[in-house]
Amino acid sequence: MLFNSLAFVVFFAIVLAIHNLPLKWKVKKIHLLVASYVFYAAWNPPFVILLWISTVVDWFAARAMSRAQQLGKRRLLLCFSLLANLGMLSYFKYGKLLTETFVQIINQVGIEYTAPTLDIILPVGISFYTFQTLSYTIDVYLKRSQPESSFLDFALFVTFFPQLVAGPIVRPHQLIPQFKTPRKATGQQFAWGLFLFSWGLFQKSVIADGILSIVTGDTFNAMRHVAVLDAWLGVLAFSAQIFFDFAGYSMCAIGIALCLGFSIPNNFKSPYAAVGFSDFWKRWHISLSEWLRDYLYIPLGGNRKGRRRTYINLMLTMLLGGLWHGASWRFLIWGGVHGLYLVTERLLKKVVDTEKLMARPLVPFLGAIATFFCVSLTWVFFAAKDWEKCQQMFESLFGLAEEPLLVVTSFHIFMTILILVAMLICHWKVRDIEIEDVADKTPSWLFTAFWVTILFVTIMTGGSASAFIYFQF
């Protein structure tokens, strides 16, 4: 079920009404669990079984792990959990890619082989809930936390609908304790939650879908090379589109949870105001970067095993992080380029006194702009549907195309530039503060006027409930 659909509005109204009835807390939790399964089943009912498998496997694996005294047995149980979860993820997400790649390699060496066609539907949000539930078993294995005593609370942690299909990826210690005591939003939480939901929807429906997707569609789906201006507009528009799409979704998820009385941490913090790439990854899809740091980069040795090993660990983490985003080698390259950015940044820090440099006027701002452009270039691997289009876009960007097409209309050039400038200024202005701080400083009348405007424009824009870009991950 999409947040920007009428079905969700009806669903959420019913969930809110039941959640606020004078019922026992356990009954309310069961209701939330059932509602979460309905939310997921609304897309494709049979895939709820995958959620159940993940829940049951990790519940029993973690409990057995905590009872086991021998390290070998604990490892075996961890392997079982990893195999079950990553096995499902691999089959549904990477099965087709691996088969196609295998066939290509086999054919390259001269063996004629045609694989059976794999018509696999990717279960929505599988990457998100797989990582979320894996963090629970790994934490128990590492004895960072005890296994959960309530199956209901654990099942709700795996399935909680506001962040089930596209994050933020919440850790057990952030969410499970909230299920222990009755939750009901205060009036202020409810109002703020509704505002965050409206703001998230506005970002998604109006900015990302209503304007920017047209520009990226025109440029990335053009029949041949596009003009330099159009190519840059397309790439920069996609940078903004993916931010508003994904940050908008996260904002909706946070707002919906808050309306029910639950707290979910932020997933974005003005990412396009990042100065440098390590800063970018502290601001972009925070819950994923922290997951990769805690469950991949640090276990690989992090920066504790020498410089060369640090670089290898960084590259490995970013390559796998890239592949997490999608079943295409383009995502691997995307991750690889980010890995190279991070390694280069570390190398530069060895030869340049960055603290001194950053103290100079304008340098941080110029650094943020440079970071934005470098990050934007990597989005080409994301937005292009195949390698040919990637090549075509890079050639267009650097004026290497013959007879390029003009595809972006004057109005969309105007709107894209307007949105990009506004986005970059806003990110820079609030780079070190939260949205709540901004609301604090805003007069009530202005806040009301802003809310009315975004709500009205969102409703008027409507749209055909197009899916969030990150659903495919």
Binding site: A41, I211, M415, S444, V452, F456
Partner: protein
């Protein structure tokens, strides 16, 4: 400052909240002002008699497809590109034949994928009216128009089990019919802003800027020109600019591999025919540069005539029938609403004259 609480690992995480004074009043004012705004748009839409309009989205096509699955085995189905959606008026068809056809035509798309789906359905033994727009029907397989229907077909497989779709469709349908303000893109602020800003389009860019309500897309996939549109020469010129661009792009990809395409058509037509069904190909009228382009790149003897001959199907080419030969498309590709009704009646007469079984 907002009331912040630590989010350190083992403490209960509580989101900070802004200290907004009078949040109840803000919430109430937001609801009231937003409702007033929507009410204003609703009044404007009703005062101007704006019809209910649906966006062309895959779920509309999927809904029509599911309708054919529930329909009788000998139903009538219209497939093809947008010329069918504009040119064949289902109300007129129903009045003349007492049979309501189902529209599965899709803008800018070749008909073969839908024909193939119908051929694969053992329960289908009806009449297929297959519109042939040469530039889409006979385009190279790499041309982007082959992707449009593919997306619908993928959605059709997924939405079958989607509770969201089955719940959302009636809710949306109900609201659309009650509230004219919910008619994007007609009132989409970006669209309105574009009209206000009024920047001159760069030469050749897509899509051309078109005003609010110049045509109406209905939920049954029927498309209709609003009466004023076809008389607005400037508007028609903007649409012609779009076709000029499409014509230019068509030449990039070239034409289909006709041998393999025809083999696929023959196979699918045979399967439908074996079950008692019938397929009729119709080449709807086009005008101006579009017609010239189609005649030059897709000469009928090599494409349309060959398709009809090899599949052994009835083929109706508008040039062959004086009663439909002189229809003019105001923007080169589609008939206006009045002509469409007349055209539909004449098509039915032609089909009857060929003993096509229009009634079960």
């Amino acid at each position: 400052m907002h009331s912040s609480t630590s989010n350190s690992k083992r403490q209960l995480y509580v989101r900070p909240l802004p200290v907004i004074k009078g949040y109840k009043k803000i919430l109430a004012l937001t609801v009231v002002w937003t409702a007033i705004g929507i009410g204003g748009v609703e009044y404007y839409a009703r005062a101007n008699s704006f019809p209910v309009m649906f966006e062309i989205s895959p779920d509309l096509w999927v809904t029509q497809w599911y309708k054919t699955e529930r329909g009788p085995e000998d139903q009538t189905v219209i497939i093809g590109a947008s010329r069918c959606k504009f040119g064949l008026v289902m109300d007129t068809w129903e009045q003349a034949t007492e049979v309501r056809p189902t529209m599965l035509a899709w803008p800018g798309s070749p008909p073969h994928p839908t024909l193939h789906l119908l051929a694969e359905r053992d329960d289908f033994r009806g009449l297929v009216i297959c519109g042939i727009a040469p530039s889409f029907s006979f385009s190279h397989a790499a041309a982007p128009q082959h992707l449009y229907l593919k997306k619908n077909i993928e959605e059709m497989k997924v939405l079958r089990y989607s509770l969201s779709y089955h719940l959302g469709t009636p809710v949306r349908r109900f609201l659309k019919h009650q509230i004219r303000a919910l008619n994007p893109p007609a009132f989409a602020p970006a669209h309105v802003l574009r009209e206000i800003v009024g920047l001159q389009d760069r030469h050749g860019t897509l899509p051309p800027f078109l005003p609010i309500y110049w045509m109406n897309h209905q939920e049954n996939l029927q498309s209709v020109y609003l009466d004023f549109s076809a008389k607005d020469e400037e508007l028609m010129n903007r649409v012609k600019a779009l076709w000029s661009r499409i014509i230019e792009e068509q030449t990039v990809f070239g034409v289909a591999d006709m041998d393999s395409l025809l083999a696929a058509y023959v196979q699918d037509v045979q399967r439908i025919r074996q079950r008692g069904g019938q397929v009729v190909f119709i080449r709807h009228p086009s005008s101006g540069d579009f017609r010239e382009f189609e005649e030059k790149y897709y000469p009928r003897e090599k494409f349309f005539d060959r398709l009809c001959a090899e599949t052994n199907c009835l083929g109706i080419h508008f040039e062959d029938y004086p009663e439909i030969a002189d229809f003019e498309c105001p923007e080169w590709s589609h008939l206006n609403s009045e002509d469409a009704r007349s055209y539909t009646r004449r098509i039915i007469q032609i089909l009857s004259s060929h003993q096509v079984k229009l009634k079960p």
